[in-house]
């Protein structure tokens, strides 16, 4: 089994090396049209697929625009009207809420389930709070 398991790896090395060294004077900015052989054909096929895909995206977007635009326009206006300082308040509350949830709401036995040495420095409630404190400073400093 081990002997055969190396075959895909060999294929990887050979394909990579032959593909890389089959090109001559490749410009600094890569161009598909300069590549020949099987690799060139594969790249040109993928070009066609990509172009067709982009055309499909345009069509699909046009199909949904009349349905979705009236739904999201009022939601966008609602969010835009929210007072900017609320952003910092909500973010700080999010961090503090996560700390409080682990420290006070979850059972300590659940938080530390599976630990091999019961000591204060293996209590994950402590490390959760310590890990989150710097973030509070960051969001206050860059408010």
């Amino acid at each position: 089994m081990k002997r055969y398991a190396w075959y895909p790896l060999l294929l990887l090395a050979v394909t990579g090396a032959s593909s890389a060294f089959s090109q001559e004077n490749v410009p600094a900015h890569y161009g598909h049209e300069r590549v020949g052989g099987i690799l060139g054909a594969l790249l040109r096929i993928s070009d066609v697929i990509l172009n067709e895909w982009l055309a499909f995206l345009d069509w699909f977007g046009g199909l949904w625009a009349p349905v979705l635009a009236p739904i999201f326009a009022p939601l966008n206006r609602l969010l835009a009207s929210v007072y900017q300082p609320w952003a910092t308040v909500i973010t700080l509350a999010y961090f503090l809420g996560a700390m409080a949830w682990v420290a006070f709401i979850l059972k300590p036995s659940y938080v530390n389930n599976g630990r091999q040495h019961a000591a204060w420095y293996t209590d994950l409630r402590l490390w959760t709070a310590l890990s989150m404190l710097p973030h509070l400073f960051v969001y206050v400093y860059f408010r």
Binding site: M1, A5, P8, L9, L11, L12, A13, T15, G16, A17, S19, A20, Q23, V26, A28, H29, Y30, L42, L43, S46, L50, D58, F60, G61, W64, A65, L68, A69, F72, N76, L79, A80, V82, Q84, A87, I90, T91, Y94, F95, A98, V102, L106, K107, Y110, V111, N113, G114, R115, Q116, T122, L124, W127, T128, S131, M132, P134, H135, Y139, F142, R143
Partner: protein, 542 residues
């Protein structure tokens, strides 16, 4: 114009590459079966889990992409590693990871398969394989084209294949053990090089205060460079999208439902190690913006001076002059070329090699992590599950190991072949986030309901996931639907809500799952049911 690497630089890079290669191959001797290859034999301590999560998550795309975003948008780009990491990782550590670890699964789709059914498992696995392929391609091409070509002038096609072969070989041989062991080395290299770039950048611009004053004096588009939560009118990172889309949906979905992240915790030796590893990962990730985002800010001050002193320091076609309140300032046209340009202009011999090794470390760890996770998903959730559904026998340990290695090789070859196609994509960080946003919201909705709400059933999950992804796709295709240019933050937020509602409604309209099927897989049964807890503990010990 390109860097001529000193022999010291070459030596550092060579030692690093050979070191990773040897460590990766050394772990091969511990690989006897699929459990060793895919989950490192459930033997990982918390520090290895934490280190591996960070370096697998932070790729060269982050070094380049986040610095580029900071150059254009300021510190708000750092939200992805602050608001977008720690709270989500706390949530993942205490809500999702214990259930994944206790249920003894190899992958997240496998968990969904047990909780719901095979259709949900196959659909989720297929989505992840596709996304991982795209991520691999982006990682390879970004480093090869934006980094190595800008710095050294090497042809990107050669670079892609060299990196693919080196990383592919040790992942192919050692599986998750090789990934985690090399990740520990790569973390050290990455942090030393990143902090060196930061220290030199700050030194060159006269320190933090001087840099901040210089950027703020430029006014106009640079006036909000030190505001972390930008107004809702901002074209890229409006605060409502950042707080609700990133913080509440995308980040939690990424940290809890992404196999490449959760994979390491599944290989932890105890549940405590899995949770502690996740927390350590979140803490270490907090330093990433300091290393990768601040050099982007320094570039705004440093590059004008460099160009003033030497007009040929940066090719004229790579930048344009922008009028600011402190006079015209040269600004690079492509944000993703900021870090490579800084490295080329600023770092002395020795540090250039170290920095390049650090970026290669970031890249290789991400590639190997993604390869390992993708092969685990393919074998567990697509090939093996597909065989069972078609009536064939499940793969034995040896066959699973063989298929895991084979798919690893296939994936890296396919990624390398397709990499040049991504030459057309600018703003790669946003592109990857957009791809992720297309299904992260719906996936989080069914995962969350699956753990927290016993009434959620297979029909609800399948409909929620399918319609949720379709809804995401429709939102993505309609131009100017949201105020942001790249609307991935809003797509994630609304698709999560949409999938949540669909899953709840369909679940309520269809029969519930049998109680014995979901025992031990939902929060209430594990926390409140001693029998379920005992059964899970027995399964772990077995």
């Amino acid at each position: 114009m390109f860097v001529q690497l000193h022999w010291i630089d070459m030596l550092i890079i060579l030692v690093y590459m050979i070191g990773c290669f040897v460590i990766g191959l050394y772990t091969t001797k511990y690989i006897d079966n699929a459990g060793d290859f895919f989950l490192a034999g459930k033997s990982l301590p918390f520090w290895a889990v934490g280190f591996s999560i960070v370096v697998s998550d932070i790729g060269a795309t982050d070094f380049i992409g986040v610095a580029g975003n900071t150059y254009v948008n300021g510190v708000s780009a750092a939200n992805f590693d602050w608001l977008g990491s720690m709270p989500a990782m706390v949530f993942a550590a205490f809500v999702f990871v214990p259930y994944f670890w206790r249920s003894g699964v190899f992958t997240i789709p496998e968990f969904l398969g047990r909780r719901y059914n095979a259709a949900v498992q196959l659909l989720n696995a297929s989505i992840w394989i596709t996304v991982m392929l795209i991520s691999l391609i982006m990682m390879l091409w970004t480093t090869a084209d934006d980094l190595v070509r800008t710095m050294l002038g090497f042809d990107p096609y050669y670079t892609v294949w060299i990196m693919a072969v080196v990383t592919g070989i040790y992942t192919f041989s050692g599986g998750l053990s090789a990934v985690v062991m090399t990740d520990a080395v790569q973390l050290v290299v990455m942090y030393v090089s990143g902090l060196s770039l930061l220290a030199l950048s700050l030194w060159e611009v006269g320190g933090w205060s001087s840099m901040r004053a210089a950027i703020e004096s430029m006014g106009g588009q640079f006036s909000t460079h030190f505001t972390i939560l930008l107004p809702n009118t901002h074209s890229e990172f409006p605060w409502s999208g950042i707080v609700f889309g990133l913080g509440v949906v995308l980040a939690i979905a990424y940290m809890s439902g992404n196999q490449a992240i959760v994979h390491r915790t599944l290989g932890a030796r105890t549940e405590w190690d899995a949770k502690a590893g996740m927390l350590l990962g979140g803490f270490l990730k907090s330093f990433i913006p300091v290393m990768v985002a601040l050099p982007g800010l320094c570039a705004l001050v440093y590059l004008p001076h460099a160009i003033q002193n030497d007009p040929n320091a940066v090719p004229a076609e790579m930048y344009q002059m922008v009028d600011t309140e402190s006079g015209p300032v040269p600004v690079l046209n492509e944000r993703d070329r900021v870090v490579p340009t800084m490295m080329r202009l600023m770092l002395p011999p020795g540090l250039q090699g170290l920095m390049l090794a650090g970026l290669l470390a970031a890249l290789m760890s991400s590639i190997s992590g993604t390869l390992s996770s993708a092969s685990t998903i393919f074998v567990t959730d697509i090939y093996n599950r597909g065989r069972q559904l078609l009536g064939f026998k499940a793969l034995n340990e040896k066959s699973a190991l063989y298929w895991g290695r084979g798919f690893t090789a296939f994936l890296i070859i396919a990624s390398s072949l397709l990499a040049p196609q991504f030459d057309r994509v600018d703003g790669l960080y946003n592109f990857i986030q957009t791809v992720l946003s297309l299904f992260q919201g719906p996936t989080l909705a069914i995962l969350l309901l699956g753990i927290l709400w016993p009434r959620a059933n297979r029909w609800g999950a399948l409909t929620g996931l399918l319609l949720g992804v379709l809804f995401c796709f429709a939102m993505w295709c309609v131009p100017n639907l949201f105020p942001a240019e790249d609307p991935f933050l809003y797509i994630a937020m609304y698709s999560f809500l949409f999938a949540l509602v669909v899953t709840v409604v369909v679940s309520l309209l269809t029969p519930p799952e049998p109680e014995e099927k979901i025992r031990g897989l939902v929060w209430s049964s594990v926390v409140q049911d001693p029998a379920a807890q005992a059964a899970l503990n027995a399964r772990i010990e077995a």
